[in-house]
Each structure stands twice: as structure tokens, then as C-alpha cells.
Symmetry: C7
Subunit: 97 residues, 7 copies
Amino acid sequence: MSEFKPLGDRVLVEPIEEAQQKSAGGIIIPDSAKEKPMQGKVIAVGPGGPTEDGEVTMQVKVGDVVLYGKYSGTEVKIDGKERLIMRQRDIYGTIVG
Amino acid sequence: MSEFKPLGDRVLVEPIEEAQQKSAGGIIIPDSAKEKPMQGKVIAVGPGGPTEDGEVTMQVKVGDVVLYGKYSGTEVKIDGKERLIMRQRDIYGTIVG
Amino acid sequence: MSEFKPLGDRVLVEPIEEAQQKSAGGIIIPDSAKEKPMQGKVIAVGPGGPTEDGEVTMQVKVGDVVLYGKYSGTEVKIDGKERLIMRQRDIYGTIVG
Amino acid sequence: MSEFKPLGDRVLVEPIEEAQQKSAGGIIIPDSAKEKPMQGKVIAVGPGGPTEDGEVTMQVKVGDVVLYGKYSGTEVKIDGKERLIMRQRDIYGTIVG
Amino acid sequence: MSEFKPLGDRVLVEPIEEAQQKSAGGIIIPDSAKEKPMQGKVIAVGPGGPTEDGEVTMQVKVGDVVLYGKYSGTEVKIDGKERLIMRQRDIYGTIVG
Amino acid sequence: MSEFKPLGDRVLVEPIEEAQQKSAGGIIIPDSAKEKPMQGKVIAVGPGGPTEDGEVTMQVKVGDVVLYGKYSGTEVKIDGKERLIMRQRDIYGTIVG
Amino acid sequence: MSEFKPLGDRVLVEPIEEAQQKSAGGIIIPDSAKEKPMQGKVIAVGPGGPTEDGEVTMQVKVGDVVLYGKYSGTEVKIDGKERLIMRQRDIYGTIVG
């Protein structure tokens, strides 16, 4: 098994398919939304560090379900599974319950 | 019930419909306004953190009625209700009374 | 009566009509001015806070007569009266006497 | 008489007419200059404060004769006299003697 | 043998050929990826220092297998071998196992 | 005699004519240079202060012969002599001997 | 003999001709490289100071062989020899051995 450790304020996210989002999370994104947000699960979190916003401390942790913009992140496959590498500043927040 | 916890300087806002705004708030936005402000109620508030403006401390709290720009925020539905995720810097101020 | 409390470095301003400006303030803006400044009275002042200029401390107070750029601020009506929400950095200065 | 108190790093300047500049100041601006500088006298000085350059301390004082770019500042008339509101960063320096 | 010592937050990277990536790393980049990431091995690391993000401390070390954007870095040949000089901010993270 | 005192990180420079540069300074600027540097002598130096680069301390002094970009500075005539007002960041360095 | 003392984070570099680079340095720049790096020898180093990246401390020293981008620096001739004035941030790193 391979492991990916993000650098800086980056986060590795497993996207949640739309069908699963509706039944599970209780949060539905209207199709009419200007920049449609997506749901995903945090798999790995960087150490933080200096960015154009200053020194970043990480506010998400492994296991968090997060909401992020549709065009956020870079696609990558790890051990055959689709993942997204994105920056914490691109994550809107976490979903609980 | 699902809960959304905003990250950074983000705020979750429940938009107030225009009909309700006029009777309740006493604040009317003229239709001729260049960038028409909208009213909403704060549902959840992020922890603050580093942004392009430096370290942000939150100045709004849950329950505040806020005024914000018409094109601010990202639309999302939580448990079937319309919400907006926006940044505190996009909020003009709070309405009291 | 409703009250508006500005956030950050924002200020609520009551615009002074041009006819009143000439008789009262002693400051006349020539029509030929490139970006015609306007006069207004400060109604409410935000707490200051982090902006793209760094941490802002408020230099205007309620009651100040201020000069600002013609295209500054966002129009809003509070209890039927016209107001402008603008940032302190858009205010040129105060008029005394 | 009205008085204008500049905010932030702004300065109120009384422009000196070109005819007077040549006889008085000893500094002549060639007509061929790319961005022709102008002379003026400082009438009022702001308290300084945070700007996009960081915290500004004022280096000019009331009475200084200053040199500034031709397109600097905002025109205003105070008690019928032409004045310019400009930022200290737009002033090249002071003329002595 | 020549040695290259990067300045600032720069890193010297030996690109890993795509054929080797699939068998070794377990991380596959889909061809459909918007900005296809690449794999490489860190050969040398700069001391860090001031950048447009502030003071940078290095988070990668010699021997790390890293993921970076396809168009990152500057190509150079050292003792006949292809290398890339890139900045740490262009590296997404490290691959372990 | 008039004196010009630069503000902030500005420097008053007396340009050295090209004929004199070749015999005196030993530094020749090839005509093929992309942005041809020029030589000048420092006449007055500002106190430094906050700029978009942060707080600037002056590194040139009156009497220094400096090299600067061809399009740097603002032309001005003081007591009939041609001068340039430029910022220290536009000066490449000083020439000795 | 003339000497040039760079200001700020500038460095004076003596370019190494391509023929000499191949035999001496062991580092070859492929002609296909997107932005072909060049080799040079450091002749003089500025004191560092404030830049758009913050306060810069110098990491190169006189005698270092450096790699830099093809379009970096400003061309100048000192005592008949070709030199380049560039900023430390434009230097990729140093070559040893």
C-alpha cells in the first residue's frame, strides 16, 4: 500500500460520489449553484506552513467530511483509488452528523 | 440533522426572503442600488485564521442578522434548507432591532 | 427603529445633499474635478480589524462630517433613510467648522 | 472658515501656480518631463496609519513646499480656494530655500 | 562529479519515468487529470529563506519521492543526467511505501 | 540656492553624461543592453520608511556614483541643473574607483 | 580598476561561456529546456535588505559558480568585461566540483 503525505497546507481528499452524498450527509448541493460544492473525506493532512496568507495552522483532520469547490484540487490515483490533493483554503468547512 | 462547521473566516448564513426583510428589519435596499445588499441570519461561524488580510478574528456570532453583497457566498442545501457559505470580509455589518 | 453596526473597517454614512453642502460646509467640489468627492455624516463606525492594509484602527467617529469619493460605498435604506456603507480607507478626511 | 483634517496618510496641499514656481522655488520642471511634477504647499497632514505599504509615519509637516506628480491627488475647493488631497507616498520630497 | 546546491526554497529533483512509477509507487496519475502530476526523487534541498509566502522552512529532504505539477521546475543536465530545479511550493507532497 | 529633500526611499541623482562616463568610471554600458543602465551622482537621500517592500533603510549616501535603469526616475530642474528623483530600489549599485 | 558594489539583494555575475561550461562544470543545459539556465561566477554581492519577499539575507558569496535563468539580469561592461547585475532570487543555486 502507498501513502501520500501532503506538503504545506495541502490535504488529500477522497471524493464522495453524488448518490452517496444525498442519503448520507443531509447536505444537498442545488444544481443551480453558481460554483457547485462537492463532498469528500480527508485522508491525509499536511503540516501547514507559510503561504500567501501567512503561516497556516491546519483546521481539518483525517476522517473529516469536507465541502469544497467543484474545481478545487488536483486529481491523482493512489493504489487504484481516486483522490484529490487540495489546499486547506479551498475547503469551505466540515459536515457533522 | 446535519451540521456544517465553516473553516477559517467563513460563515454559514440563512438568507432572509425579501418580503420578510421589509416588515421585520426596517432596512430596505433600494432596487437602484449598484450592488444590492441582502439580509441573512448567521447559523454557524468559523474559527478565524490566516487570510490574505492577515490573521482574522471573528466579529459575527450565531444569531446575528447580517447584510452582505448580492453575489457573495456559495449556495448549499442542508437538510433541505437553503444556506450560503460566505467569508466574514464579505459581510457589511449586523442589523439590530 | 433599526440600527446598523458595521463590521471591520466599515462606516455607515448619511450623505449630505449638494445644496446643503455649499451653504453649510464651506467646502465646494468643482464640477470639473476628476473624481468628484462627496460630503456625508458618520452614523456608525465598525470596530476595525485586519484588512489588506494590515490591522486598521478607526480614525473617524460618529458625528464626523467626512469627504469621500463619488463612487465609494454601497447604498442602503434604513428606516426609510438613504445611507452608504463604506470602508474607512475610502474616506479622504473630516471637515470641521 | 472651514478646516479639512485628512485621514490616514493623506495630505492637503495648496497648489502653487507655475508662474510663481519659477521665480520663487528655483526648481523648474522641464516641459519635456515624462510625468511633469508640480509644486504645492502643505496645509494639513493626516495622522498616518496602516496602508498597503505598512504602518505610515508622516514625514511632511504643515508649511512644507512639496513636489508631486501631475496626476496626483483629488481636487477640492475649501472656502473658495483650490486644494488637493493626496497621499504622502505620492509626494516626491520637499523644497527648501 | 558535479554537485548542485539549490538556493532559497528550491529543490533538485530526479524525475521518475512513467513506466517505473506505475510498478513502484502505487500512485497512478489518470491521463484525464487536468494538470497531470509527476513523480520524482529529491537529490538536493535549499536552505529555505524569504519568499513571497514569507520565511520558508524546508519540509522535504534528500531521498524523498515527491509529486509535483507537470509544468513545474526548470530542466537541467548534471553529469549527463536529467534533473529539475523546482520550488518547494510546487511540490504537492511525498509518497511513502 | 534651492535644496530638494527627498521623502521616503527616494534619492536625488545628478545624471552623468555618456561622454564623461566612459573616460571616468571604467564602466561602459553596451548599446545592445536590453535595458541600458545609466550613471549618476547622488545629491540627496530620503530618510527611508515604509514601502511595498517593507521598512527601507537607505544604503546609498550623498556623493555615491550609482548605476540605474534608463527609464528610472522623474526629471526635474533645480537651479537650472537637470536632476532625477528615483527610488533606492531602482538603483542597481554604486561604482567605486 | 573600477569596482561595482551591488545594492540590496543584487549580485554581480561574470557569465561563463557555453564552451567552457561543458568541459568544466559537468552541468549541461539541454537546448530543449523551456527557459535555458546559464552559468556564471559571482564577482560582488549586495548587503541584502528589504524586498517584496521580506528581509533578504545573502546566500551566495564571491567566487560561487551559479546557475540562473537565461533572461535574468542587466548587462553591463566593467573595465571592458561583460557582467550581469541580477537579484539573488533569480539565481537557482550554486555548482560545486
